[in-house]
Symmetry: C2
Subunit: 345 residues, 2 copies
């Protein structure tokens, strides 16, 4: 098998990529637990470009602004502002044979993990995380999200593109250099599929977008964190994570491909401000965020892209993992109040 | 509000207990992250019974075997073998008013977290975890699971009882004394609901239990870990966790209430042997396990109880949390081979 395997649970509609290509030996975990503090050279830092595969996208400084390019096999651009590179250990990998452009599923429970898995280096500066980023630099990050999303969404074998960020070791960021990840998958993942189905159902009943409705209600609720011209930030009603918040655009759209220049800058600024508030309230906690979006055109009336930010302040243990029911010890109302306070401090 | 709140996500069928009763301040997390290594007296150790609420069940040594009793407000039994106590910080709590015996949901997205949340102290010995337990003691644990399950399942407001175990700090065990937890909930949790629905569907189509089918197939597959007279242990085909394995009884039954004495002892022994193999392969890793079972009588033909063991060797990060799709770097076939080797070492 030339690809990782996609396998479905016996009963649940739950898919897992089994990394058959680069599978690990069980004893590696013992080693890893001992070695986790080992120092090493950062492959994402300026000057270490040769340590990574060729970039699929680089933003370079130019007199008149930004020039976009990519590396070739022999060439590694220097003096970049943004670099997007294939993940060295991809969960999903591009088709190796022409016929794989279409065929992915071998049967109902087994397929090939065809797609893309990229790392977006957000800055040449190792520690330029969003909460402390220069606004212009974070706007480059948002623009690079859009560039990669546009290109990946056009591939015939790509059904979804997940843009996400892991911050801190406990949130799964094995390298501390500021970076996001982009994974393009051959099917629409479960959570997005459920959101699409529920929002379509709401639209059929009420002839309006459920997210537009939520955003409007939450912007007037005690769960509101901030509101500006383009975005609303709020702690969701049934937050699963302590201090969880969502960032939602006021303009109805299924994904972020149609953001104007000023909307992209506003998105970057909203991301920066709210992540800075989280950092200040809880002493730079580990977190994950993920962009939720839709690529299918028929979702344009009812689906509404947004970002969900999950601070990692609690552990999902035996109860959560075996039941799918959650316990949150911080009310979203308390979380929102703390974040609002931090904004004005 | 006298109970914690049960809230449903805007779109997903995902429920969360919002701990409004004992909610925490966001700044507590900063403190907690610094204090996590603070030493303290173990409230579960022999002699510290006064540090806990009265036990709802104790097993006491007697000449002829075991005597079962419970504490009263003033009394704390000493010389116990097993103690089951209400959790001091319960996610779900028993009805405080007679009318709450039935009413739980206030509307479709909001209810009261009525139920039970108990801690089962598995041994007077602080470190008698299942992998290293005396077989007789671990059989007491299994019998206590059955006793508590029987009592809780009879309450009119209880729809499900989750029996689970967290091992190690990274798996959510904040106290290291050997213990399990039991949570009785007023609704059937999502994962169990999906298993019930899928197994019922299979039964309607094939007139046989899907689990019986899986167990038979996996006992002959490269994913088999061990098989004895009563149980089969295997690494599931679409394992979500590295080194995940399931323990399933060969005898078809919806839950463990009908285990005979020798079957209960065999379950304890199977648990001990397989957890010992995991401990030996990966150097005592953190893990969670959860019993999956059904309490509704109409599930008797199609649902089949089992235990799922989830070693915590990887982090579910932004991709997993925002998509519901997983990546596993150890194939179940490799995991099973390593566990089989450890059994015979």
């Amino acid at each position: 098998m030339v690809y990782n395997e996609l396998r479905k649970d016996y009963l649940l509609d739950r898919w897992v990529v089994i990394a058959t290509e680069r599978s690990r030996r069980p004893t590696d975990f013992t080693k890893q637990r001992k070695d986790s503090n080992a120092a090493s050279v950062c492959p994402m830092c300026l000057g270490n470009e040769h340590m990574t595969p060729p970039a699929v996208l680089v933003y370079l400084k130019a007199n008149s602004g930004i020039v976009k390019d990519h590396d070739t096999d022999g060439l590694r651009h220097k003096n970049w502002l943004i670099r997007c590179i294939p993940n060295l250990y991809p969960a999903f990998s591009p088709p190796k044979e022409p016929q794989d452009q279409q065929c992915i599923m071998h049967n109902d429970t087994f397929g090939s993990a065809i797609g893309h898995h990229e790392v977006l280096v957000e800055s040449p500066n190792h520690s330029e995380h969003p909460a402390d980023a220069e606004p212009a630099q974070l706007t480059h990050v948002v623009n690079a999200y859009m560039d990669r999303l546009r290109e990946l969404a056009q591939k015939p074998y790509v059904q979804y593109v997940s843009i996400f960020r892991n911050h801190g070791l406990e949130a799964g960021a094995s390298l501390s250099h500021a970076h996001s990840q982009i994974i393009a998958t051959p099917s629409v993942p479960r959570i997005i599929k459920e959101e699409l189905s529920a929002s379509q159902h709401f639209w059929k009943q009420h002839k309006k977008c459920v997210f537009c409705d939520i955003i409007q209600r939450e912007s007037k609720s005690p769960r509101r964190v901030l509101e500006n011209e383009n975005f609303v930030v709020f702690a969701p009603y049934a937050s699963v994570h302590p201090m969880e918040f969502w960032i939602a655009p006021k303009k109805h759209d299924t994904n972020l491909l149609n953001l104007t220049g000023s909307e992209a800058a506003a998105f970057a600024e909203t991301l920066r401000t709210s992540l800075k508030a989280l950092k200040d309230v809880v002493n730079d906690p580990p977190y994950n965020f993920g962009v939720h979006l839709a690529l299918n055109k028929d979702a344009k009336d009812y689906y509404h892209w947004h970002v969900e930010v999950y601070p990692r302040l609690a552990i999902w243990a035996g109860f959560e993992r075996s039941t799918g029911m959650y316990i949150n010890t911080v009310t979203p109302e308390t979380a929102a109040a703390a974040l609002r306070n931090a904004l004005t401090a």
